[in-house]
């Protein structure tokens, strides 16, 4: 093998008297505890005995199925339009590109509820675009499963675009030039050379977007409402259950926690490896 052996993990001996100062250690531990204690509380108070029963109830299954379906559909939609958008941002020059990138990343920092309101104004029955969808095609998106998918896509796609754009910028554009000299059109070069090269980045972006979509609450409830079986995803079900059946809310939360941990584990090579 040409790659060198993994760096030894043994700690280097520390010079004497160079310990961690308490002024840094104490707040650091406090911060760590703040992040961990709520999760531990979730595990401690979980109704472990009735958990199998909770998790197999039709309501939970319904919400879980809907969540998985919508998050996956939103991820697929993000891939179909987000990867080309990332390519455009990374590989072409046009006026106002910086502005376009800023607008793409806006949903990252925008309160999701605002996103939901904006979606209503755009795609609602009387919305800027929605009125024509309704008049011409009889399509109404708010308060439907498709509406959930759109709300999740709106919030999740920027994660994918940013991740893929970064990977594209790091990828050597000269591979595309080499493909061109061999007779590949720009699209063929993208499909047969660039896309395979950036596949890990696309996958990481997709997982990130999927996780974000799965946890989406604000935009969904604003744009799609809260109808069991149609638009009530897991986070919405958790919120609702907390009012009248806390045990069910905890059980649902545990499922989402498990999914998050699985996502983190899947991405650890990419996001948790420090230089």
């Amino acid at each position: 093998m040409t790659s060198g052996p993994a760096a030894p993990r043994t700690a280097r001996p520390r010079p004497p008297g160079r310990g961690v100062p308490l002024a840094l250690l104490a707040p650091a531990l406090l911060g760590l505890a703040f992040l961990l204690v709520p999760l531990l509380a979730l595990l401690v108070r979980a109704p472990w005995r009735s958990l199998p029963e909770q998790l197999t109830s039709p309501e939970v299954w319904q919400a879980l199925r809907l969540s998985l379906f919508c998050a996956t559909a939103a991820t697929a939609l993000s891939l179909v339009v987000g990867v080309p958008l990332a390519w455009l941002l990374a590989r072409t020059e046009f006026r106002g590109r910086g502005l376009v990138r800023a607008l793409v990343t806006l949903p990252l920092v925008l309160p999701p509820v605002v996103g939901g309101v904006a979606l209503l104004l755009a795609l609602g029955r009387n919305g800027v675009v929605g009125q024509y969808l309704d008049a011409w095609f009889g399509i109404s998106l708010p308060f439907t499963t498709a509406g959930v998918v759109l709300a999740e896509t709106f919030v999740a796609m920027p994660f994918l675009v940013i991740s893929v754009e970064g990977t594209l910028r790091a990828a050597d554009p000269r591979f595309e030039e080499a493909a061109a000299t061999l007779g590949a059109s720009r699209f063929t070069a993208f499909r047969r050379v660039t896309l395979p090269l950036i596949a890990p980045g696309v996958a990481a972006g997709a997982v990130l977007a999927w996780a974000r979509a799965l946890g989406e609450f604000g935009a969904t409830i604003t744009f799609a409402g809260n109808f069991p079986g149609r638009t009530q995803t897991m986070p919405l079900a958790v919120y609702l259950a907390l009012q009248n059946d806390p045990a069910a809310a905890i059980a649902l939360s545990l499922v989402l926690l498990a999914v998050s941990v699985a996502v983190l584990a899947g991405l650890r090579d990419r996001w948790m490896r420090t230089a």
């Binding site: 000269r174 030039e177 000299t181 061999l182 007779g183 590949a184 059109s185 395979p196 090269l197």
Partner: protein, 363 residues
């Protein structure tokens, strides 16, 4: 523009154009301007030689269509390629670091071109296998680029470029990525392949040895312009710029000849055996210079200059002394001689060159 009325730029419609390459490449890039004319017949191997930043790679990219021409023309076997996108040009490129697609096997890398140019999958792979076989790489068809040695990767890159049957083959610093040992072997092999290639090959290099071994004709480019072109031996013997003189290891001066004497622009006169008049170059190898601590008395050398040592460095098993003074020059001497002369930076010396060791030619 109407072709019938305007006799433009040597274009002669209706007549079968000469095969090979006929190009004038003009690329403007802010402060830098490339402007060179290149012609070559099928079977020619032309080397663009020049220092870094001279515009060699820009010229290659312009030929491949990766950098647009600001002006000029580009004809290959009579076809105007000026506005043809790179994917439609019959031009194969071997990039400096090869740019083999890391996710494809050697075979699929070579099959990529034929596949993009319309061959079926099976046909493209059969053709690729044939090329790998010709390169002596049949056993590595299934290997990914990262498992290939530098020399093997270079051959895969060459096979990939040749597999599209190019009418023009471009090689960008084909040996620069290799270590000294592999270089020797790959250079010999590349020379055979280039000799067998029936269309035009243009290679870019900053290494004079690569250029002289691989090419039939050298085109020396400096600051975006051609400063000299010709057969390798001719250029090695008659350098016309400081850069080329350094490459081929000669001291070079420009001056004005009158009989057997050339008065240098740099000051002193040099006695030569050639009989010339008018602007002229004088060249002599560093090995032809003899150094003395004190002014030699019985020396037969007519060319004698008082100099100072500006720097010393080992050059193979010799010492190369850079001298300044009446004339700036490089002199080679043995380590023993250097010690006997007590050479050190700042030391005064006399430098002598016999007229028979100099070579003068018209500028």
């Amino acid at each position: 523009m109407t072709e019938s009325t305007v006799p433009h730029d040597a274009g002669q419609p209706g007549r079968t154009a000469a095969p090979g390459l006929d190009a004038r490449l003009v690329v403007d890039r802010g402060a830098f301007r490339l402007d060179i004319a290149l012609t070559a017949a099928p079977g020619d191997v032309v080397a663009l030689l020049g220092p870094n930043g001279a515009g060699k790679t820009t010229a290659l990219r312009a030929l491949a269509g990766l950098t647009p021409l600001t002006a000029g023309h580009l004809r290959l076997d009579g076809a105007e390629l000026h506005r043809t996108p790179p994917e439609a040009r019959p031009v194969g490129v071997v990039f400096q670091d090869y740019l083999l697609f890391p996710h494809l096997t050697a075979l699929d890398n070579v099959a990529f071109g034929p596949r993009c140019r319309g061959a079926g999958k099976a046909e493209a792979r059969a053709r690729a296998a044939e090329w790998l076989d010709r390169m002596g790489l049949a056993g590595h068809a299934g290997a990914r680029p990262r498992h290939l040695s530098g020399g093997q990767a270079q051959r895969v890159a060459l096979a990939r470029a040749l597999a599209i049957d190019p009418r023009l083959l471009l090689l960008d610093e084909p040996l620069a990525a290799l270590d000294a040992r592999t270089r020797l072997e790959v250079r010999a092999r590349l020379r055979r392949h280039l000799a067998a290639f029936e269309a035009v090959a243009v290679l870019v290099t900053h290494d004079p040895l690569d250029a002289m071994v691989l090419a039939d004709r050298l085109v020396v480019v400096e600051h975006g312009r051609i400063v000299q072109e010709g057969a390798p031996t001719d250029i090695a013997r008659h350098p016309r710029t400081e850069y080329i003189a350094q490459l081929v290891g000669l001291n070079l001066y420009r001056g004005h000849a009158d009989g057997h004497t050339v008065r240098l622009d740099a000051g002193p006169a040099v006695s030569t055996t050639e009989d010339l008049s008018g602007p002229a170059f004088v060249a002599f190898p560093p090995g032809a210079v003899t150094l003395y601590r004190d002014r030699p008395t019985g020396s037969s050398a007519r060319n004698l200059w008082r100099c100072r040592v500006a720097g010393l460095e080992t050059h193979g098993d010799q010492i190369r002394a850079e001298l300044t003074g009446e004339l700036s020059l490089a002199a080679d001497l043995t380590t023993v001689a250097a010690a006997e002369l007590d050479l050190h930076p700042g030391a005064p010396v006399w430098a002598a060159v016999k007229a028979a060791q100099t070579h003068a030619y018209p500028a």
